[in-house]
């Protein structure tokens, strides 16, 4: 593809990476409005000019769903923003979402040639820009749909894996029903990721776009309870099932005092605010412990921990502290999230591991007893293993603690589908290429197979599943 970029490559490389306009840190820590404000058309054009349009286009290979990045950048350069959005939609049904929450630094941008000598192209910002432009014009370029195949697919879970599979399957002409246990569609995009990173209105709009593709959404259906996988394939008449239930079973620390009032799992803390809008109590009925003026400690170093600690600040916490057992280098959270958290006033207590929650005689949390850690030899994850320093116990005050150390596979579907193989951690076993499970007609992908990962990896699994389900529905071979 030729480019309409008027600049020679050397000049392109002189343009600095455009900065994302943000709400000032001092203001945003007081509200739930979005932190990143998005690029203007002028900034987007300026950024797009930096693209080298290299033949190798590593960016494309770095994208879990294979967005044709070079092509959509080119469309930005010629000013066809709607065309650019439609180009992304060919491979990514949720561009306004991934433009906000993808860890681009590890994916497309991590592969960008520009990054070898300076800063990579801001592909995420540009994706977000065209997706927002498209939303604001109201002219969403839905991809074309193949003629109806007469085949029906049930998708369990309406998070990123489920939505992405639903979009691809609907485009291939299959009739898709998405089953969701909660009362709103979107899974972790609704209950997990906070408003200040991903406004819920955007999720609603993307779900509406999928509805317009003919996808049916059913809330309040807990597969494994309301209906089983066998019933979906039997009397309900579905030809295939895709399990995309996510990793919804919180891991606790199993240390003394974890039952104290004021100790939350990140899932509960975030669900109360994001799904149930407890930050707007009493206009909304679901309460959350009043964090105003309190010390809040969040245990963990991932994106969920960052979401929880920044939520605590916005709920009025006097101090909001990340307690992490390794050092900052090993933190799995995105660099941007850590940076935003620090700017907003989050404190970081690293190389510290809680060994007990401390409470008063009324059963309320008063603090954490922690242990100093030191880093030893690398473990299986390649990160240096934290080891306790003997005799180093110390206490920090906390009236609220949020445990954000990961999830296990929620067993509701597996335990009611006897011929579905799981691994010792409770995740479903699926073929890495076809996402086929041990049960005919049943596919699984996303966090319920891999364990907790990212939105885009789940979407990638959804795409892969859609491809494999489409093949299975066409040839009937297992």
């Amino acid at each position: 593809m030729t480019t309409s970029n008027p600049l020679p490559p050397k000049e392109r490389m002189r343009i600095p990476r455009q900065r994302m306009p943000e709400q000032p840190a001092g203001e945003r820590r007081e509200n739930f409005a979005e932190v990143n404000l998005g690029l203007s058309a002028a900034l987007a054009h300026q950024e797009a000019l930096r693209c080298l349009h290299c033949k190798s286009h590593h960016c494309f290979t770095g994208c879990p769903v294979g967005v044709k990045i070079k092509d959509f950048i080119e469309l930005i350069l010629v000013g066809d923003f709607l065309g650019a959005a439609a180009k992304i939609r060919e491979d990514n049904v949720l561009p306004a979402i991934t433009g906000r929450v993808c860890p681009q630094e590890d994916q497309c941008e991590g592969c960008c040639i520009l990054g070898k000598h300076g800063e990579p192209l801001a592909i995420g910002y540009l994706e977000r820009f065209v997706a927002d432009y498209e939303r604001q014009t109201g002219q969403v370029g839905l991809p074309p749909k193949a003629p109806p195949t007469g085949k029906r697919v049930a998708i369990i879970g309406s998070g990123p894996a489920g939505l992405s599979a639903a979009g691809d399957l609907a485009q291939r002409g299959h009739q898709v029903t998405v089953l969701e246990a909660l009362h709103e569609i979107g899974g972790v995009l609704i209950y997990g990721i906070p408003e200040f990173r991903l406004p819920k209105q955007i999720v609603h709009e993307e779900v509406e776009n999928l509805r317009r593709l003919g996808i049916e959404f059913r809330t309040n259906v807990v597969v494994g309870r309301t209906v089983t996988v066998d019933e979906l394939l039997g009397e309900e008449g579905y030809d295939a099932v895709f399990i995309a239930t996510g990793a919804g079973l919180p891991v606790f620390l199993n240390i003394p005092g974890e039952h104290l009032c004021g100790v939350y799992s990140a899932n509960e803390f975030l669900t109360r605010v994001n799904l149930m809008k407890a930050n707007q109590f009493p206009a909304y009925d679901q309460p959350i412990y009043d964090c105003r003026g309190k010390a809040v400690a969040v245990i963990g170093g991932g994106n969920t921990a960052m979401d929880a600690v920044r939520t605590a600040l916005r709920l009025g916490a006097q101090t909001a502290t990340i307690v992490y057992r390794r050092s900052e280098v090993e933190m799995p959270a995105r660099i941007e999230e850590v940076k935003h958290a620090r700017e907003e006033g989050v404190q970081f207590l690293t190389l510290a591991n809680p060994v007990a929650f401390l409470g008063d005689d009324r059963g309320w949390l008063t603090g954490l007893k922690c242990q100093r850690m030191t880093l030893g030899e690398p473990d299986k994850s390649g990160r240096r293993r934290p080891q306790p320093v003997p005799g180093s116990e110390f206490e920090i005050p906390a009236q609220v603690a949020v445990v954000a150390v990961g999830n296990q596979g929620n067993p509701l579907v597996q335990s009611t589908t006897p011929d579905l193989k799981t691994n010792p951690l409770g995740y479903i076993e699926a073929d890495p290429d076809t996402l086929r499970t041990s049960k005919r007609g049943v596919f699984a992908g996303g966090d319920i197979v891999t364990g907790g990962a990212t939105v885009i990896l789940a979407m990638g699994a959804g795409r892969k599943a859609a491809q494999a389900i489409d093949e299975y529905l066409k040839n009937g071979k297992w």
Partner: protein, 296 residues
């Protein structure tokens, strides 16, 4: 939307609803519950399924906080926006021999379906219905229909025997043929007291716990209870547990976690309801007056 096909008061603040919910009705077993949300800004609360019949499920609601009172303001022909279930593990229904079923207050509504199922498989069912006063005794006829014997106790002696359910239980367990199983469902102090009566005699005792829940699918962990020293999730591991293993103190403490917020929400609801001129309640929650069948 889940249409209400029947709504009637059983006692002051206690109302029975039959909801059309075919998928749940077909699936539900004794001991399971649903989570409901009453309006767009509503919280999610768990309610035990008291019965089912064809396409409908029965829930019995005691108006104590904002959500339960809003629910109890609904009438036949209206609808509940969100009902999900059946959730939780079903009760263990086996032939045990003689079973004592104890329902304290609203607990009778929760115990009833399990008592009925235990009777159905051939157990001898002795039921104790406890209430503060005569007007709060619920489901007596229903319990009589599925029990070999029914004892009613009231705290004030206005009906049945004067005293607590544990007074009657003590008599039943100290005879020559003590029961093989005791099922006790009611306020936490009652369940704890029952556990202490049966513990020294080693009688298997089951309680149904009612911790605060959000999603009801194991996702949030808010409903964790300490049983035998281990943290378990009432929504997926329960709600029924071995009474002799449950830490009732932790349950009671955790259930009081939002008491201030709950009182505030209720006070605001009552302030709205008391205003004779403008019904702000229906302005803030218009859907509660929306008929299930109306095209709006």
């Amino acid at each position: 939307m889940f249409p209400i096909v029947e709504a009637r008061w059983l006692a002051p603040e206690v109302k029975l609803f039959r909801l059309r919910a075919p998928q749940i009705a077909r699936k539900r077993q004794a001991g399971q519950f649903v989570i409901v949300r009453v309006h767009d800004h509503g919280e999610r609360i768990p309610l035990t399924i008291a019965d089912s019949d064809g396409d409908t499920i029965t829930i019995i609601v005691q108006g104590v906080g904002k959500t339960t009172r809003l629910l109890n303001s609904l009438e036949t022909g209206q609808a509940v926006p969100d009902v999900v279930g059946p959730l939780g593990r079903p009760s263990e229904i086996n032939y045990f021999g003689t079973v004592v079923v104890i329902g304290g207050g609203l607990g009778t509504a929760i115990a009833y379906p399990t008592a009925k199922a235990l009777k159905f498989v051939g157990n001898r069912v002795l039921s104790i219905i406890g209430a503060r006063t005569r007007g709060l005794v619920i489901l007596e006829q229903e319990m009589r229909a599925i029990s070999d014997e029914v004892f009613v106790t009231t705290d004030d002696g206005s009906y049945g025997e004067k005293g607590f359910v544990t007074d009657r239980l003590r008599t039943l367990v100290s005879g020559d043929s003590p029961p093989d199983l005791v099922l006790a469902i009611g306020p936490i102090p009652m369940m704890r007291a029952v556990a202490e009566v049966t513990r020294p005699r080693g009688i298997k005792t089951v309680v149904s716990l009612n911790p605060i829940m959000v999603d009801g699918t194991g996702m949030c962990g808010g409903c964790r209870v300490v049983v035998g020293g281990k943290a378990l999730f009432a929504c997926v591991d329960g709600p029924e547990f071995d009474a002799h293993q449950v830490d009732f103190q932790i349950l009671a403490t955790r259930n009081a976690m939002y008491r201030e917020a709950e009182q505030r929400a209720l006070a605001e609801l009552q302030a709205h309801a008391a205003d004779p001129h403008v019904c702000r309640l229906t302005q803030s929650h218009p859907e509660i007056l929306r008929s299930a069948d109306s095209p709006t």
